[in-house]
Symmetry: C2
Subunit: 398 residues, 2 copies
Amino acid sequence: MLTISSRGQEMPPSPIRKLVPYAEAAKKKGTKVYHLNIGQPDIETPESILNAVRTADFKVLEYSHSAGNESYRKKLVGYYAKNDVNVTADQIIITTGGSEAILFGFMACLNPGDEVIIPEPFYANYNGFAVAAGVKVVPITSSIETGFALPPISEFEKKITEKTKAIVICNPNNPTGYLYSQDEMNTLRDIIKKHNLYLFSDEAYREFCYDGQAKSALTLEGVDDHILMMDTISKRYSACGGRIGALVTKNKEVYNAVMKFAQARLSPPSFAQILGEAAIDLPDNYFDATKAEYQKRRDVLVKRLNAMEGVYCPNPGGAFYAIAKLPIDDADKFCQWLLESFEHNQQTVMLAPATGFYGTQGLGKNEVRLAYVLAVEALESAMDCLEAALKVYPGKTN
Amino acid sequence: MLTISSRGQEMPPSPIRKLVPYAEAAKKKGTKVYHLNIGQPDIETPESILNAVRTADFKVLEYSHSAGNESYRKKLVGYYAKNDVNVTADQIIITTGGSEAILFGFMACLNPGDEVIIPEPFYANYNGFAVAAGVKVVPITSSIETGFALPPISEFEKKITEKTKAIVICNPNNPTGYLYSQDEMNTLRDIIKKHNLYLFSDEAYREFCYDGQAKSALTLEGVDDHILMMDTISKRYSACGGRIGALVTKNKEVYNAVMKFAQARLSPPSFAQILGEAAIDLPDNYFDATKAEYQKRRDVLVKRLNAMEGVYCPNPGGAFYAIAKLPIDDADKFCQWLLESFEHNQQTVMLAPATGFYGTQGLGKNEVRLAYVLAVEALESAMDCLEAALKVYPGKTN
């Protein structure tokens, strides 16, 4: 019989993209939709790095090395050193987006049936890569009341079984914006050391920290072999479409295993490697303006949200996401209703229901994720829409 | 314990790339190495499609649709129609190279433990994607004596078990260059219909047919739901580094399942989608010159090989590979020896041992794959090297 595989059936559809048809219908009706539902920055990709691609001089668009161009990896060494991460070029594998780094890490280190602990809410696509690798995600709940801080070590101990092989973190966090403290990172170090676990550390938003600094997992002492760092240029340089990321590990065995997966797919994309390499040469102050812009947006967003009746949004320390608790019955229904049945001055807002970011069934039903990827004026308008919506939503709970 | 996963251990290293250190050492000694070991064409990427990327006007390098840009998919419909394949834009998913199309197909249709039958010798990376998906490759041997024709239907019947879910073909074939006849395609159609199997059809080399025409598996009648066609622009337009391919299927359930894997990795690379879309507008005669060039090279290669004592090379009908039987003890040793211990006028040739393309242990030991991706003059010099080498190789068998 022609059947879909079990993993093909279990594979979760994107929780962010499932509302797209409703947004399209709203736009067809003439309603302006503010997209706070997806982490596609509106910041322009730096002209100089686009120009590096435009002016690159070659005759044949060749395969690159399976680990990515050596010249790029060598320059990345310098970039990481500036971020207190001391690695060599042969500890870096350029991947097709951060996505591939996660998939390769899971594939190389985890067997089907193995368990990975992930503080929830978490980046929804970890679920997808876990299904692809046959790995079981064990969520450990972080709470909006603590601003989504790392759950206490005792909670981890409760979840660790003999099948537990790894912990996955994202720092600063998507979807919560939470920035782990040095103490929390040390807690993680102690857990992975004691229980001999891998730590997969997704550091896509490294530069976007507003209250403090993100310390890479690769700076943790005494656990070099435990760390697989996942990286991407997507958000850093507003280059999501380039599909260039990296897997960085000091564990030689892991590196060699990942390289075999990298060889099977031949090479990462050549054009965007040129862009990524050029990005290393951006002036050190490149991030200042971008960071200041996101911080301004965060401040507006959080202030506006907390001024709404029955709404609570902890102040995110990094990335460009926030999760807010709303006085609503069901976030999925609400987000659909915003697109299908609501408009405010012919405008509405698209949000991501938080349910898709929790592994525990039933959690996040009154929470939404907001990506502050729009300029302040648009953000204000989006907040006007949300505020008006919460006054008339039939399923409101206060 | 920190361990590498079983699949991380089983994952085969690239059989083509393992000789690279020997090639590098040879070059350091001052020996010129002719690379016939890898399918990296020397043909220039058409200037007009590189210019499409260079002049593309956008400010933010955004994610594309997870299925790829709609404009590109719509134009591909026209491209496929010219090749007698009638599909719609929503039966096409743009993938990150043909590699990702193969991986997605395996992931969506096959369970761990399922079996896929592949005529051997076959493209070595099918092994890698099979290991990633936990799928067992069951090889069915095609022989150099028949020019690597499709084995008779009785051989397939012998290999089909209740775990068999699919057959994988590559047409025209990498590594043999064999071009399946309409009769052979019909045989495959009958087998997949009778046993309810998927047919994964890798059509990367569609345009490179010298004696006849490759009929797409999607033209087979009565088996629409069975076919997953894997495609790539890599060889077609000398754009290997772009990492743009496609998975094409009329099976809606399969399409939807594959789309979930596509959503998890967000989108295929944006730059090379521009290039791929521009390539559809190349004049119809674009392939004439390229094809004529490859045909000239094939003719030189095959003639030279068959003129050498004890060498046999069937005439490949398509792609740009040939497999030759050599009078040698061990192809892996011979290919290493060519780089390590041999030179002819300070030149040598790098070949791929055929052993890496067989699933059956022990086969291909006196065969090599040659990719005719160099201009005729260089090919002649490479053949001079091989001819001289076969006269002095210590492990020669005639």
